[in-house]
């Protein structure tokens, strides 16, 4: 069975929900502890949402230097699928696994809403079961979700199909070019601010579109073997 590691940092909030989503999708969730140097042979890793290390210094800045992250950075550079959700996205940017940075929302308030996204690239491990241009609804909740990058980086992201999602209808935080999620060159590392793990069950989610992330992963891994 596909084993998906879910990292818990001090201050992670959505690790349990992410693990539950993995289980709901018929995959095996493997809890990974921030202080461990062991990925336990997982097939993929999720960095969950929350406020790792209290968001002290900068969001994700301290988590980036935790022991488990040195393992994840090495493995991601070897092709391990990694999904960073919200705070996990911030950790990936701080780790330089993904370009750019996330700063405080332009409206300076915490935003919590059902967010429509446009799928821009299906050329990643986590979106290959989606359609290009497909609109999906995924819940969003963040205070520091404004994606920014310098001009040169943006041009490269746009030119090399590394923008994975754009906000559709409304840009909730002032992200440049409406960017909601990006990927690395290889397409195995994806980060996004919205929370697909909250959109896998009818009881609690406004849509089931979060399932597509896990279906993508499963489809990628089964094609690889």
């Amino acid at each position: 069975m596909t084993r998906v590691g879910v990292v818990t940092f001090p201050g992670s909030l959505d690790d349990q929900d992410a693990a539950r989503a993995v289980t709901v999708m018929g995959l095996e969730a493997v809890p990974l502890w921030h202080a461990a140097h062991d990925l336990e042979g997982v097939d993929a890793v999720i960095l969950p949402g929350g406020f790792s290390y209290g968001d002290y210094l900068r969001c994700g800045a301290i988590a980036r230097f935790s022991p488990i992250m040195s393992e994840i950075i090495d493995a991601a550079n070897q092709g391990l699928p990694v999904l960073g959700i919200c705070n996990g996205f911030q950790v990936l940017c701080e780790s330089h696994l993904l370009p750019g940075a996330l700063i405080r929302n332009d409206r300076r308030t915490f935003v919590c809403r059902d967010q429509r996204l446009e799928v821009i690239s299906r050329d990643t491990v986590w979106t290959c079961a989606m359609g290009e241009g497909q609109e999906i609804d995924i819940v969003l909740k963040n205070g520091e979700g404004r994606y920014i990058a310098d001009e040169e980086t943006l041009a490269r992201l746009e030119g090399e199909n590394q923008i994975v999602f754009r906000y559709s209808g409304l840009n909730p935080n002032g992200s440049v070019n409406d960017i909601a999620g990006v990927t690395n060159r290889r397409g195995n590392v994806v980060g996004l601010m919205p929370h697909p793990e909250h959109n896998v069950e009818e009881l609690t989610g406004p849509s089931l579109d979060g399932r597509l992330f896990f279906e993508s992963l499963a489809s990628f891994l089964s094609a690889r073997v």
């Binding site: 210094l57 900068r58 800045a61 230097f65 940017c93 701080e94 750019g100 940075a101 700063i103 405080r104 929302n105 332009d106 300076r108 404004r146 920014i148 990058a149 310098d150 002032g174």
Partner: protein
């Protein structure tokens, strides 16, 4: 003990929402013509009586690695004279 100061500021082209909020509050209090950008100041105590150039380079390295995110922030390192 010697002390090194690291100042970290959002780069000029980066919107600074905290500074903007403080600017707005100052205006409401009647302080006219003041525009604020807000950063962070780190006071680092370094073992030994003086900060050698090597030590200072080390602090610069630390600032680049952890204290500042150079994608969005610029930093300045200086020795504070007692």
């Amino acid at each position: 003990m010697a002390r090194v100061i690291v100042d970290v500021m959002p780069k000029p082209e980066i919107l600074d929402p905290q500074g903007k909020a403080v600017t707005g509050a100052l205006k409401r209090l009647g302080f006219e013509g003041l525009t604020v950008r807000q950063g962070k100041r780190f006071e680092i105590t370094v073992e030994g009586d003086e900060v050698t150039p090597d030590r200072l380079d080390e602090v610069r390295d630390a600032a680049e690695k952890l204290l500042a995110n150079t994608v969005i922030e610029a930093f300045d390192v200086r020795v504070e004279n007692a």
